[in-house]
Symmetry: C2
Subunit: 197 residues, 2 copies
């Protein structure tokens, strides 16, 4: 997605150890026109799929998620992140480990919002190790629904999330794929390129 690639090139800041800061348009300040285009692009890419809901995770997934849901004409659900939980009766809970923050969170979705048989599109801002996407997928499957696809705004293709999700059989669409953040610069994957290993 050209507009997004340009934004990453012009405004992305490469920090040490594989971190790309995009807080001027995606993670803290957000560009609403870009978010609308992201929603349209996911809708175009998943046009062949029957989708009844979009599922994302707070906080940075909400803007791309709501724009995708608007284009698709279905509700958005955002999973909540919590350090620890007491009551769990009416919610689905999955544990998700963040390699960036080196901590585990419980992610939760109220049981009343995903019914058996639903076809859920998962949307998130970043894909690295795939922990959040797998956690969201497990919630959909706990509910007796199925994952219609996984839409990622920025994929760090040098981390294993892409490979693991594809091996698990999920249809994955990443709008921008980053081959490397080495030497302080962003190198994009070529279209349809596959990294070795």
């Amino acid at each position: 997605m050209k507009l997004l690639k340009q934004k990453v090139m012009n405004e992305g800041i490469v920090l040490g150890s594989g971190v790309l800061k995009v807080d001027s348009f995606l993670n803290h300040q957000m560009d609403p026109v870009l978010m609308r285009e992201v929603g349209r692009e996911f809708t175009r890419r998943f046009a062949g799929e029957e989708i009844t809901k979009v599922l994302t995770i707070e906080s940075s997934g909400i803007a791309p998620g709501i724009m995708t849901a608007l284009e698709l004409g279905v509700p958005l659900i955002f999973a909540r992140k919590q350090k620890s939980l007491t009551l769990t009766e009416d919610i689905f809970v999955e544990k998700v480990y963040s390699f960036t923050k080196k901590e585990s969170n419980e992610i939760t979705v109220s049981k009343k919002f995903i019914a058996a048989g639903e076809r859920v599109l998962i949307v998130d801002d970043f894909l690295a190790n795939g922990e959040a996407a797998f956690g969201l997928a497990r919630i959909v499957e706990q509910a007796g629904g199925s994952v219609a696809g996984i839409g990622i705004v920025i994929e760090k293709s040098f981390q294993p999330g892409n490979r693991l999700l594809q091996e698990a059989g999920y249809r994955l669409e990443s709008l921008v794929r980053i081959a490397s953040l080495e030497d302080g610069r962003v190198t994009f994957m070529e279209e349809d390129e596959v990294l070795p290993g």
Copy 2:
């Protein structure tokens, strides 16, 4: 706002002690068409104001915020909530007390996203005591910007936020105003009605 009022009537759940649960369309599951209409309505109401940015707070403010920013053609910033902070050099920090959760959070915005002279529209999902709105306003003012207005999706008019914000001189627009949640039911304010005290 009629569509929103209907949603509150049909899907809002009154819990004890002044809590209105709207997790089927605003706080957990979100209705994207309603969010777009909320964005359009804020844009209509604040049409006379010069606005350079929209500011909200994670997580439930992001969807109405991004739709408002899209209509206005300006960026959205969402403030982050944190329990406690270590580094504070390049961020604005304000303490906000939540009466519902009985805890204080630090809310933060990166200094690079609000410049002196900016005219900021604050958007949030709920107004009760006004703690979050005041915290966001103080951040705008710390930056040398000014508050163009405060847009609230659902106002609990029986709590003091409305009065306190108006007394402080802010222009406030609430799309739905609730006079009472007593006896387990929602009573709306009449247009332009003012509660005694």
